[in-house]
Symmetry: C2
Subunit: 479 residues, 2 copies
Amino acid sequence: MAQDKKLVEQITSMDVDFAQWYTDVVKKAELMDYSSVKGCMIFRPYGYAIWENIQRELDARFKATGHENVYMPMFIPESLLQREKDHVEGFAPECAWVTIGGQNELSERLCVRPTSETLFCEHFKNIIHSYRDLPKLYNQWCSVVRWEKTTRPFLRTSEFLWQEGHTMHETAEEAKAETLRMLKVYEDFYFDALAIPAITGQKTDKEKFAGAEQTYTIEPMMHNGVALQGGTSHYFGDGFAKAFDITFTDRENKVSYPHQTSWGVSTRMIGAIIMCHGDDSGLILPPKIAPIQAVIIPIAQHKEGVLEKAAELRDRLAAKYRVKLDDSDQSTGWKFSQYEMKGVPVRIELGPRDIENNSCVLVSRVTREKKVVSLDSLESEVDAMLAQVHDELVARAKKNLAAKTHTATTLDEFIDVDKNQGGFIKAMWCGDVACEDKIKDITGGVKSRCIPFKEEKLSDVCVCCGKPAKHMVVWGRQY
Amino acid sequence: MAQDKKLVEQITSMDVDFAQWYTDVVKKAELMDYSSVKGCMIFRPYGYAIWENIQRELDARFKATGHENVYMPMFIPESLLQREKDHVEGFAPECAWVTIGGQNELSERLCVRPTSETLFCEHFKNIIHSYRDLPKLYNQWCSVVRWEKTTRPFLRTSEFLWQEGHTMHETAEEAKAETLRMLKVYEDFYFDALAIPAITGQKTDKEKFAGAEQTYTIEPMMHNGVALQGGTSHYFGDGFAKAFDITFTDRENKVSYPHQTSWGVSTRMIGAIIMCHGDDSGLILPPKIAPIQAVIIPIAQHKEGVLEKAAELRDRLAAKYRVKLDDSDQSTGWKFSQYEMKGVPVRIELGPRDIENNSCVLVSRVTREKKVVSLDSLESEVDAMLAQVHDELVARAKKNLAAKTHTATTLDEFIDVDKNQGGFIKAMWCGDVACEDKIKDITGGVKSRCIPFKEEKLSDVCVCCGKPAKHMVVWGRQY
């Protein structure tokens, strides 16, 4: 029992120091490790398994909406990156450059891809000639590199894993519809698979992607009220097509430029899961993406028949769930703490008395509720508790989002809310970037998250300058 | 029909120019495209889908043998790469180096990983302390970079996709068993999934991996008699462990070095599939990894009811197979050629008369055999034809391997066989690297493929120097 206590003591409470709590959890749940490569991280088996589950779920949704996977080179020649002006300005400052290959100085240096619009455009030029070649609905799973000064596991690292969708369309309308469709895929995925409700909307011009006409975003709120940009979907118009001279013969036999989108989510989603659902005992994983959905802990496992019955249960449940039996010689208390730390949604306790009664005990990781259930109806009881864990996580996250979203109609009120309550602030905005800059300066970091799809009219004037308001904006601090 | 003819004419016959045939097939089957990044290639949807199927099949086999996936950084600091002497000598000459990150010259340059032994070792040092931490059975799916002077799609590119397994064990025996076990996983995968029989065995010291004590290899033969190193499995002993100071407390409470393995296969397997099975009509894909296992071609599709019935068949078959219906307005002849080019194992033809008879026509891509089958037993007929395609591919590849494997007992005979017949040559060897060098020089490129697990005693003396022979070696030219 000394061991359990030690384990629990090692985690900083989230109310004491949220950042330290986060660091403790990612290390002690064995999600990641540091390496000697500055700013890069190692995905350990448990962390990578979460990513594999995310990939499988998302990939199925991409394929169901008609997308195909491809793989582009990881290098971008400097001249190719420079082809679209805004894009290169946005990304060049944070590129890693390969200058030597096979012991020779390269005649043109190569950037390790920070994103692949330019590579896709070069390829699209080769393969798009007629309206019959459209749409092209492509996606790529890969790692990208953006040289970051300060890094934090999963949230901001110099290398990260992601997917980037890149599509080309006959018309602006079709491309715009794709942009919104994929944001909706993200929104549904966050809700259904990650148990995370989030605000969705359009980025202001200041915050949009380098080279995009419009950027849409999904902005989940973390437990401490801070936002995390959870995924973005961009409409490019025909800007890149013109820069890369991509044309096609349209249905009227005229030469036209296709319209383009891109959209992406990354391993920072794992950071969102941790910070949205975790508690002082560690991680809590949504059942849909948990590497272990249920862990079986034998009680008094030295007693005759306990381990055999536990193994039998494991084999039975493995047909339907990702299940693990811990029959190691660690103490029961240590095991309880360990799988709470790892965020396993359901714990199954099985001891001699349970076996006698043809029952076992299910324990929810979220509510800690214990339920004695008959082994005859085990699957339906596990189903029910997994569903309950998911629903409970959604309900908690919704409650947190509502509790930490405030409104402000004057700048004083805005500053006061940010200082004393934090979280998201809904406030009207004139549409001028000067007001965004001023709010960021005054507050020391609050930025517009998005103009939400569901706008409210809180007043007629901008919270900052008092001029007529154009939009309601959700503001907040971010990771 | 002019269009079909054009399509067929565009492929060079494999007997006329095998290299050109290969290039034609990879382009026209839409497996890949070139990019402006020298030596790198684009995986188009059809090529990448083959890789996804390979990944899914192999990943399941790795997990079934107890391996877990992880992800390491893509960069290796120069000092880390230099830690194991033989390893850095083998890889440094072909590294790509990042020297600038975020607009600043790096204090230490970073190599883009050519392979990740060094990164795994650095991590193993952090996480291995006791025999209870062993074995560690890790695998990683990623892309790696080796700066190549001459490149060929799938076979040799500066960047390629692969998996690399890295494991650590308590004892040498256990690590050696793992090395052989994973080679067997590859051998079974080649046979069961890719329909490719191959020679397996041990590499000579000259040909082994940089830093390995032993390297085992799988060496399939291409249609033209040339070998392709299809996958390797390495036993490292405790060499890296010593270089990286990785120790653990063993069962006798003594500090020991763990024993290590690594093993990998890459996207060059796609090259093996093309060159082992393809013909003058294009690709032939083994059913297990074919992105489209059966294509439905409607005949006289303008006639009432044909497209409806074809769509109904597609929906029915989609429950069990990867199936496609081509209802485009291209000619039937064009469609036949197109899906032959793409190597789809089974073609299903469905016209008005078939519908009247409640039947359809199945056509095998390998034998071109046509079979009229009842729609009532469609699934069992498709199953049978897919199995037949697989078996037929195996039989052909076996026949080719046998026909193009020769023996030689004198150097003159060796040279004659190589010149006039090509293929693999079985010959005795004294164990001296000088004889390997001499054979390579005299023939202009024939190398030892491996000392096969199934050795034969062809004579008492080395084919090259006449001294007592130690082993039978399979020799051959390679991609």
